[in-house]
């Protein structure tokens, strides 16, 4: 019998990061997902159906808007906003949900399971499940259910079952644990519709592939508007799906600098933040490790217990980061930084008042980092910032600061 481990190891790795660390019960389903996805990718009918849904149901392409008043306000680079917030359901998450929803149908799975932090992925999954006639169960930390109540009601209206998770820090990580337990139990009938570039291979690859349309569109749009490539890209990074979605089409363009913005929370000590890659700024506790199926940078104790995290933004409040981001950081291809809760709130207010856009608190982190840097940039430099979602869901949190 031939020994295949080395061949398998090649796949699903971004440098040393990524891989597939799951209980044996999930290995065959992951292999099936990988195989079905490869077939779907080669199938023109699949791509045509996805394109049609993205266009007619979700509202693609999204605009690349020149933010003239924000540009003037910050007084530096020319700023363009990629308006993923205008998509159906209010965030980029629907791109991936439509793709994976079609994969679930292709695999003959009648039920989808999802985790959600801010509720945007949960809402997008519930929406796609309704559209495709699948049943849907969403796991959500009880703290997140409290701070994103509007999205809980939206999911229920769409026919999804929302199950509160009362373990650990009652946020995204705990919701993923519970979704994995459901999947391992109902693996023959259910597809786990993972919402970010996290988890075991092939998830980080599949989610990135379904999100990379953001950057592909933006690349074309900026060349039409400015006749050249941008100098800087900005995106927030929780798991990192909207960031990888924007970055991916530009990875080969060495002149394009990329900044991923993590949640600095309320402090730099372990438990106070969700900055996994911004260690250079003094955030403590991230080391390579294995969490929820993948080898990547993880906030943890010296003994390998996963740390609790904090962010005002539920979608960034997570102890690990997508493995491809860990690799981009290690190579220096993208830079990762973190902004604090109050800076993100201020940035949301600034974007609302200069451009008439209320961003999701997640996206507001990217806006805050841009606000630090844009004034120091030359006036002919070009920036694209991904407004990954809109802020309606955050009105309860934001209204405390108005």
């Amino acid at each position: 019998m031939s020994y295949t481990a080395n061949v398998v190891r090649e796949r699903g790795r971004y440098g040393p990061y990524g891989g597939r660390y799951v209980p044996e019960t999930l290995m065959a389903p992951l292999e099936e997902l990988e195989r079905v996805y490869a077939e779907a990718r080669a199938d023109r009918g699949f791509q045509a159906e996805l394109d049609s849904l993205l266009h007619n149901f979700a509202g693609r392409p999204t605009p690349l808007q020149f933010a003239s008043r924000l540009t003037e306000h910050l007084g530096g680079a020319r700023i363009y906003l990629k308006r993923e917030d205008l998509l159906h359901t209010g965030a980029h998450k629907i791109n991936n949900c439509l793709g994976q929803g079609l994969l679930a149908v292709r695999m003959g799975k009648k039920r989808v399971i999802a985790e959600t932090g801010a509720g945007q992925h949960g809402v997008a999954t519930a929406t796609v499940a309704a559209r495709l006639g699948l049943t849907c169960t969403v796991y959500m930390g009880t703290e997140d259910m409290e701070r994103q109540r509007l999205n809980v009601n939206r999911m229920r209206l769409l026919g999804a079952e929302v199950i509160g998770v009362d373990a650990g820090s009652k946020t995204l990580k705990d919701a993923i644990n519970e979704a994995m337990r459901d999947w391992v139990t109902n693996v023959r009938t259910s597809h786990y519709l993972l919402g970010s570039v996290l988890g075991a291979h092939p998830y980080p690859m599949i989610v990135r592939d379904f999100q990379k349309i953001i950057g592909e569109e933006a690349r074309e749009q900026i060349q039409r508007a400015e006749k050249r490539l941008p100098d800087h890209l900005f995106a927030c990074v929780g798991g990192g799906s909207n960031a990888i979605g924007l970055f991916h089409a530009f990875l080969g363009d060495s002149s394009v600098k990329m900044v991923g913005v993590e949640a600095g929370g309320r402090g730099k000590s372990l438990g106070e933040h969700a900055a996994r890659l911004a260690a250079a700024e003094g955030f403590v506790g991230a080391r390579p490790g294995v969490l929820q199926g993948t080898y990547t940078f993880v906030l943890q104790s010296a003994n390998g217990q996963i740390a609790t995290t904090h962010s005002v933004s539920a979608g960034l409040d997570y102890a690990a980061v997508g493995p491809e981001h860990a690799w981009l950081a290690e190579q220096g291809r993208a830079e990762y930084t973190a902004v604090m809760d109050d800076e993100a709130i201020a940035a949301a207010k600034m974007l609302a008042r200069t451009e008439g856009i209320i961003p999701a608190l997640e996206s507001a982190h990217a806006v805050a980092e841009l606000a630090r840097r844009a004034p120091k940039m030359k006036k002919d430099e070009i920036v694209i910032l991904n407004v990954s979602g809109r802020g309606d869901k955050d009105m309860e949190t934001l209204s405390r600061y108005v």
């Binding site: 019998m1 799951v22 290995m27 644990n177 337990r181």
Partner: protein, 292 residues
Amino acid sequence: MSDAAIPKPTSGTQTFAGKTGGRIGRRFRELSEAGELGLIAYITAGDPSLDATGKIVLAAAEAGADVIELGVPFSDPVADGPTIQRASERAVRGGTTLAGVIELVRSLRMHTQVPLVLFSYFNPILQMGIEKFAETASAAGADGVLATDLTPEEADEYRTALHARDLDTIFLVAPTSTDTRLALIAECSTGFLYLISRTGVTGERASLPEDLPALARRVRRFTKLPLAVGFGISSPEHVSVLGGIADAAVVGSALVAEIEKAATVNAAAGAVADRIRALKRAAREGISKRSA
């Protein structure tokens, strides 16, 4: 993750890793000669304290447990049901670490020769360092390791390090495992194979799955290693029919639940010992391997 040289896989027919025969292989040979189903007891280490776990393990060994799995508590136990999740949470909160569990093994070895398996999620092992883990666990007197979220594909370095220290590498097989996967897992396992009886997390269930005998037969086609069946095994009734199917039964959540209920450490040790005696009786008096 180093790209250490890939070791030549050990033969699937080898039942122990040690040069002179490990405690696990020896125990399974004794059971086989007696035609008796083995009983493997899982206990979450550090729940409610490592001292308590030490007493409970000795009571379990005394009561007839053939192998004891010491669960290393982890903050995010994705493969576990509510009972072991709660135990894990109590143990982590109490400050239990992998190093502490290995220390417990060392102190247990002064009192018992029962085979001891460390049952852990991969991250604590990775953070200690795979080499250092293998060295200290082996020196302390552990016999084998099972990492719940580690499959052979990601385990080259781990297997090399553990086998170099005569530690058995026990991997899981599941109802969803394809024949290709069963062959790979069998090739990479030593000591015994752990068969997950059903898709799902750990925890007590009313009955055994109907397709378990067929599943066990399918797994046997790929290995001569002893086969232990776990997940959802809790009662003497379950154990009494397993003799015809497997070489050992793993009981976990039912024991952990006894520890959770007990008011004192002595009561916990007593309750676990009572459970094990009842299960062991069922293992001896039920369908034996010989009659099957």
